[in-house]
């Protein structure tokens, strides 16, 4: 059902915009490229071109980023055995933001058009590894220590970001603010080609550890007694989370709440087993972001609303509703 929903959303989203193209013509265009002449080609002379240079990369990016963020969120919650965990706890997003802002303020261009994305990716990953290294002592990492270390590092990152905005000129400030609001505007195929391998590799690794994550729900010691290398699993999956999130964030800025809300929604339907939760998160995350991006592009004519703002605006109240409902019905999370 999720898969069908995703396909419909992809087609509708790709057909919507300043140049509307009906869904059958969108599908026709895709099939045509695959060598099948089943459905009509886009009637508009620039229709096919618009689809392949603007719409499809953007929709594909939305689907990829949504899947990456939702799977990263589900992994984080599984690794910490805590339904409130999300990737930003270990500093991926704030580290990426600081690095992106540094590049913007100092006008660095060491990688051409790609500079901001590369910096954000490296910043997110190094911050996560820093948090992990600081929280580790004697070969062990306690979850509470890790979360508290994350809070400390996030606070420093927030301060650095404020400093950078203070240092930058008006234009840089504006650019930083908009980067943080998140947008898929200007997604191109090369960007998709860079994000895709990280997202796919991360998701494959995540799916491979689904069973171990189930066992980890019993706690560290019982998981160990059942043959799980808890420490190894944990650091491995935190790196996977950092890769997924950093890849997603680097090209489209910060898209909040997808990683927190989607796994919760999915669990309500599938139950807690990670073998079902992870693939369902992949589809649901894609669906949510494709729809959110469609809304961002079309709610207000001729303008592109910030995607991250939109997901938070809807995700925040929704998350509150989830909390309220859970407290009322079962008296807690477990």
């Amino acid at each position: 059902m999720l898969a069908v929903g995703l396909v419909v959303a992809l087609l509708v989203s790709a057909g919507s915009g300043q140049l509307p193209i009906p869904a059958d013509e969108v599908l026709g265009s895709v099939l045509h490229r695959l060598g099948l002449d089943w459905l009509p080609m886009p009637a508009h002379p620039r229709g096919d071109d618009t689809l392949w240079t603007v719409r499809f990369p953007r929709v594909a990016m939305a689907a990829l980023v949504g899947a990456a963020l939702a799977v990263a969120g589900a992994l984080m919650q599984g690794v910490f055995g805590n339904p409130l965990a999300e990737p930003s706890i270990v500093g991926v997003s704030s580290g990426a933001a600081v690095a992106a802002a540094t590049v913007i303020v100092f006008g660095l261009t060491f990688a051409g058009d790609w500079t901001v994305a590369v910096a954000a990716f490296v910043g997110g990953l190094t911050t996560t590894l820093l948090v992990y290294a600081l929280a580790r002592s004697g070969g062990r990492t306690e979850v509470v220590t890790l979360v508290l270390t994350g809070i400390a590092v996030n606070a420093v990152a927030g301060a650095l970001l404020a400093l950078l905005m203070f240092l930058g000129d008006t234009q840089a400030r504006e650019q930083i603010v908009f980067w943080q609001l998140g947008s898929l505007n200007g997604s191109r195929w090369p960007y998709v080609a860079v994000v895709a391998p990280f997202a796919v590799a991360g998701i494959v690794l995540a799916l491979a550890s689904a069973r171990s994550l189930d066992l980890l729900a019993l706690g560290e010691r019982p998981a160990r007694h059942l043959g799980v290398h808890v420490e190894r699993l944990r650091i491995g999956l935190i790196v996977v989370v950092a890769l997924l999130t950093a890849a997603a964030v680097s090209f489209c800025g910060i898209v909040a709440f997808v990683g927190l809300v989607v796994p919760h929604l999915v669990r309500m339907v599938t139950g807690p087993g990670h073998r079902l939760v992870l693939p369902a998160c992949l589809l649901a995350g894609s669906l949510v972001l494709v729809v959110a991006d469609l809304a961002a592009r079309t709610l207000v004519a001729y303008s592109d609303l910030p995607l991250g703002m939109l997901t938070s605006l809807v995700g925040g109240p929704f998350f509150f509703w989830l909390l309220w409902r859970t407290r009322r019905t079962s008296g807690g999370w477990s």
Partner: protein, 272 residues
């Protein structure tokens, strides 16, 4: 008879506090070995060391003659199962899923075909079949204990380590649980169990080890270990041991008559 698990000279400290001090222990196939002693004398710590959760500062632990550090966790999980004192879960897994988790070490091996059988048998033995669909987190303490014991049984290992498995159980389920452990021992398993109820331990154990401040104070058959004078010293409370009128099994009771309370025992009690 060779020991399936052997502990030699194990010492563990938490900060400056020495919890275990040169402990030796042998666990044999076919026996139920009860580990007893007052609170904070290192029973659970010793169990954690044998389970491989804690690396001792000095001393060695071997399982089937091989040092614990040389075991792959997955292989070790097919040899020994552990029931921890507390049972918690982070997500609302139903009881049946939790019991199935006990089969995880057998994945990808021929024994995997027995998964459904073992899970069903374990749930029947521990009387948790009616809870199969309930979320583990919503169970009472005793039900959690039984469901976790089912998970440990489903793991089908030759060594069972149970840390206060009877703590939250009613008298009927206490007896069934220990009788189940005894059956496993009769079938060749080695069972190490931490217990507080000395009478219960005496009734179900082949051997007992009494810990006192991180050292072994006594070990041997229940009748040898359960000596009123030794227990009174170790537990810092007057203790009587009487024989059951029919079976002759030792029954351990706190001596509640005033005359039996020597002043020096009372003053020795921990001030906090």
């Amino acid at each position: 008879m060779a020991a399936v698990a052997q502990v030699r000279g194990v010492t563990v400290s938490f900060g400056t506090h020495r919890v275990l001090d040169g402990v030796d222990l042998d666990l044999h196939a076919g026996e139920v070995l009860a580990l007893v002693g007052p609170n904070g004398t290192g029973k659970s710590t010793l169990l954690a060391v044998v389970a491989g959760d804690l690396t001792p500062e000095s001393g060695s632990v071997t399982v089937h003659g091989r040092p614990l550090g040389d075991w792959r966790l997955q292989a070790l999980a097919r040899e020994r199962a552990v029931l921890t004192q507390e049972q918690r879960i982070s997500f609302p897994f139903p009881v049946r899923d939790v019991v199935e988790m006990g089969r995880a070490p057998w994945r990808g091996r021929p024994e995997e075909d027995l998964d459904d059988l073992e899970v069903a048998a374990a749930m029947q033995t521990t009387e948790v079949e009616h809870l199969a669909g309930r979320a583990f987190g919503s169970l009472s303490g005793g039900e959690k204990g039984r469901a976790s014991f089912a998970r440990v049984l489903a793991q089908q290992t030759g060594i069972l380590m149970l840390d206060e498995p009877t703590a939250a159980l009613d008298i009927g389920h206490q007896e069934t649980l220990l009788a189940t452990a005894r059956q496993r021992a009769l079938a060749g398993a080695a069972v190490l169990v931490v217990l507080h109820d000395l009478t219960l331990a005496a009734a179900h154990a082949d051997r007992m080890v009494l810990l006192e401040e991180g050292r072994v104070a006594a070990s041997g058959s229940p009748r040898e270990v359960l000596d009123a004078a030794v227990l009174t010293r170790v537990y810092r409370h007057p203790v009587e041991v009487v024989a059951h009128p029919r079976t002759g099994d030792p029954i351990v009771l706190a001596d509640r008559t005033d005359a039996a309370r020597p002043v020096d025992v009372l003053t020795q009690e921990d001030p906090c």
